[in-house]
Symmetry: C2
Subunit: 689 residues, 2 copies
Amino acid sequence: MKISRRCLPLLCLLVLLRATVSVADEGLWTFDNPPTKPLQARYGFTPTQAWLDHIRLSSVRLNDGGSGSFVSPHGLLLTNHHVARRQLENNSTATKNYMRDGFYAATPDQEMKSPDLEVDVLMAMENVTGRVQEALATATDDKKMLAARKDIIARIERESTEATGLRSDVVTLYHGGEYWLYRYKKFTDVRLVFAPEQQIAFFGGDSDNFTFPRYDLDIAIFRVYENGRPFESAHYLKWSDHGAAEGELVFMAGNPGSTSRLETMAQLERRRDFSLPLRIAQIKQRIDTMQKYAARGAEPARQTGNLIFGLQNGLKASNGGYLALTDPKIMAKKQAEEDNFKKLVTAKPEWQSDFGGVWETIAAAESRASGMTKKQVFRQLDSELFSLALRIVQYTAETKKPDGERLAGFHQSQLESLRFELLSPAPIYPEMEEARMSGSLEESVRQLGNDDEWTAAVLGGRSPAALAADAVRGTKLADPQARKALLEGGTAAVEASTDPMIVLARKVDPLARAFTKWFEDNVQGVEQAAGEKLGRAQFQVYGKSIYPDSTFTLRLSYGTVAGYPMNGTRAPARTTFYGLYDRAYSFDFAEPFSLPARWKESHNKMELSTPLDFANTCDSVGGSSGSPVINRNGELVGINFDRNVEGLGRAFVYQEETGRAIAVHSAGIIAALRKVFDAGVLADELTGK
Amino acid sequence: MKISRRCLPLLCLLVLLRATVSVADEGLWTFDNPPTKPLQARYGFTPTQAWLDHIRLSSVRLNDGGSGSFVSPHGLLLTNHHVARRQLENNSTATKNYMRDGFYAATPDQEMKSPDLEVDVLMAMENVTGRVQEALATATDDKKMLAARKDIIARIERESTEATGLRSDVVTLYHGGEYWLYRYKKFTDVRLVFAPEQQIAFFGGDSDNFTFPRYDLDIAIFRVYENGRPFESAHYLKWSDHGAAEGELVFMAGNPGSTSRLETMAQLERRRDFSLPLRIAQIKQRIDTMQKYAARGAEPARQTGNLIFGLQNGLKASNGGYLALTDPKIMAKKQAEEDNFKKLVTAKPEWQSDFGGVWETIAAAESRASGMTKKQVFRQLDSELFSLALRIVQYTAETKKPDGERLAGFHQSQLESLRFELLSPAPIYPEMEEARMSGSLEESVRQLGNDDEWTAAVLGGRSPAALAADAVRGTKLADPQARKALLEGGTAAVEASTDPMIVLARKVDPLARAFTKWFEDNVQGVEQAAGEKLGRAQFQVYGKSIYPDSTFTLRLSYGTVAGYPMNGTRAPARTTFYGLYDRAYSFDFAEPFSLPARWKESHNKMELSTPLDFANTCDSVGGSSGSPVINRNGELVGINFDRNVEGLGRAFVYQEETGRAIAVHSAGIIAALRKVFDAGVLADELTGK
């Protein structure tokens, strides 16, 4: 941490406070600003630029919402089973169930193409803060600033895409304190090589989700192809001979989704009092709807697997966040941090003039938003077909506008990935769609009433069930060709369409736009401008000794392989295969603690003391799933797949004492491949033997 | 639950409230009043009188503070390793360490005599409430009542001992609502047959103490002798072939030490605000003192093992109790129960006249006691030699008085057991005694100051270290012969003694008596009378549909073998030997997770899926250690050894959702004996094969 030479007493105090905090293994650091000082201070390690570049170029982001890494010179990509599960389900049929049975391509020709998986590698990062700020300088109010920002960002992205052919995203860091242009090499030919059975990947199911000790082999292995041949990766992570040991320094490189650690108390309080409780109610309804649908039979149960998994995952995470925000100690800590930050700003006239009042501005916006949160949450139709329809309607309208005036998600540089999604051949199950749609509409009616402008427009006098039946049974959008025809036909085709899902989307679109506009004008625009001020204030006060909130872009975190106090005793730093069998036998193999047949048989072939999972203090949130865990030699020692319950407050606050990231151990992966799956060829490629 | 025919509305409400509570597996029931109604309602099981008698006569109480059971026709007695550990340490020497290495007598001549272990079997129970109440009827005030009660109890005990030759104790139940004469057959020739290594009996050490999942083989097996030959027990528990299964109804018969579930809010609040925090501070000091002493070398470490174990055990238990009493939900529940009880009493004029004001009387006594609690806790010398000295001084004085006037502990019927303890040949370690004594005195000075009458008298101007050195180095009381001479010499010998420990005891004795008298007059006497009223009120209101607070006498509890919600997931109902190895390897065999050599080697000989420990909902507290766990056929399925952290509030409240008793599984015991200890002969005797 840099200390200003004109160190005010108050600043000194705060610096000390922050310094105390930074002794922890906290932080989701950008690769342009690695945590060299805390690393050197705590671990005596300073990464070289070559080390950092190698880690960055070996890491990937998956458009299914997770992270991964190259682990062989021939394009092998390691990620989590739960990141790959949509691909596994999409490739499965009523007779071939890769989720249940796993998959292994013993030879290259057996490798299985993923319908719509995109993998991005961050090739370059350029600071464009100056260009963005310059474009904003002439804007006279918040709305003009919002428009100017959209415009300059779209221009930078477009120019970069044209110049380099690389996917180009402008990333907002420190809530607008910095803007960076990230250029990605993009791969869309990604083939499945190996996945274990769901039952071992997710052993313990929703019960053990977000807990430790844990016994999951949550991995999947793809091979990335380029021009029809395995991608010869110049950068990939070598497999560690021993894996992670207790007390060892480790790193994680991944794409943490979204944190709210710089949010003000007013923002946290709206989450606590409105957004989270309503969101929790919504998830519960959706789980309930899907469980009822799954109960209809084996095939419905298979279809809903991924969705229920995601919902339960989201419920536990939301509950964890809610618990954190209702924990008086955590809220007191956040309040103290905000108070200190405010005092510091107030103490310096130039800061006070630039940033004073920003908390009050946000609080006023949050107060306006509070009354609208219920509408924000429940004016939603839970349906893939409807989501496709709405995006098709909006796509045709938006792409006619200048780039800078478009809705978020429809900028020029985003279109290729968006089309890839809109034209995905992944199967859609109409009965399930009907159940989802009518279930979510019933909940909307319960929460908002029949008189709500949106519910009235959507239902048009029909019942939720009748509307869903009409829309789902009448639509042709399950066929990618039908979507393609509409996209190609543009607004004319969309306006002429009598497809009931498109008709519904046309009705909802103006309401959705109006709501979005209201939120932009009254909340988002105000908070974005205020958030930028806060980000700049943070810069002025702390410099880059702190890290920005995460944004599903590449970050580096670091920590120690370590157990923690739990349940009156201690959780160990790692688990072994002995523990897997203990837990399975303890529950008499009852779900979710059953084991696939080959696992029951292979316990005699395996050295059961081999580590299976391990806990570490690396900072992580959702999206970090699949991040490689790396030792100081840059070798792969594990793959991150979860946090423990004690770490679920990480969206808002990092707590080192008991919060832990959980990873599969590299030695456990190799043992399972060799002894259980007879996948020695794959294990040899991974270990380079 | 019986419902009065003249069911008042209020009573009905309360009955419903209590009925809801009694659906839980709650209760430490006396054998004269088994929980037949809840058992029938919840499990469809009604124990016969023969079943009850058989369980009672197969169960034993150990004077080391635990429970056990006969498990073979030839006097084999199963209890916990931690109940037997004082005997193991007493028989150990600097060269033979039975705690570390375990013990197995393959033949009868190798069985090892315990220096001072007494085992009691409850042969008969007689309700003497009428006799006691009759004797109290003429007493005109609380003091006279106290004296009259002491007198009648001593007389009943003496008459019974003379008539039957059996140990005879009058037991106060329902805080004086009932008095029972319990007659015990007493055994003092108890020989050790088997004990595993401390490291497996207490695997996980203090860390895993009071937790689950757990992997402890906390057992010891003695053989009870009578007239120099193995006791041919007519009643013993047959070994179950399969042991306890998840969801199965099980029973525990044991001697739970002491609960405070009928205590008033005023009493609980003094515990919360005074007794427990002070006691916790005291235990911490004692642990600190003993750990410093243990650090002097291997032999001091061995000597202090049992003491530190007991202190850490007590610290965790006290902390657990403190957590319960500071849990707003628990206190609100207790408050609601008290409010309901009070309302009910108030609503009926005759009850109001008999019992009204009793809560206020207790609250006033507690208020007086609060100011004295610090003295009560810290006017204590932590020393075995001093404790012997003080009891010798008091023994000689008390035994000259009529039985009814004696201090508690010195009544005629208690003398034989007391002499057995006072003359124990168990070793005493002078250096350790010195450390204990001076450490506790230093803490007394810190807490009470030098000016306190007691500390001033004890120290006599010397430092704690100097006093301890003088007293311990100068005393001859480590020799049982010296103690015997004093006991036989009576008050004359004691008064003439220049032994410095006796001299100190003579100084402390009058202060201790004065303090005891103050407490009896101002707190204990008042609360005993008030407690009896409360007990009688409880009788009037609820009848014997409820159980009395426990008193280290035989009780029956019942419940289900069941896991519970834990750590965001579920704890299983049982653990297996797989889990033992998982936890050992997970911690790299670091203490307290190391395993004895033969355990490391024998994992290949054993079927690792064999159950090791299991959790159940049976009600239990300290003293229940060693209780047999029994199935509905009266067969032994396990042996109780602990509670989980969630069950530590059981002194005050039973909570079924997560609180669990923890037992060693009968199948795990047999597997360990056969496969690890090569003790097939013993396993055969246990299983009758």
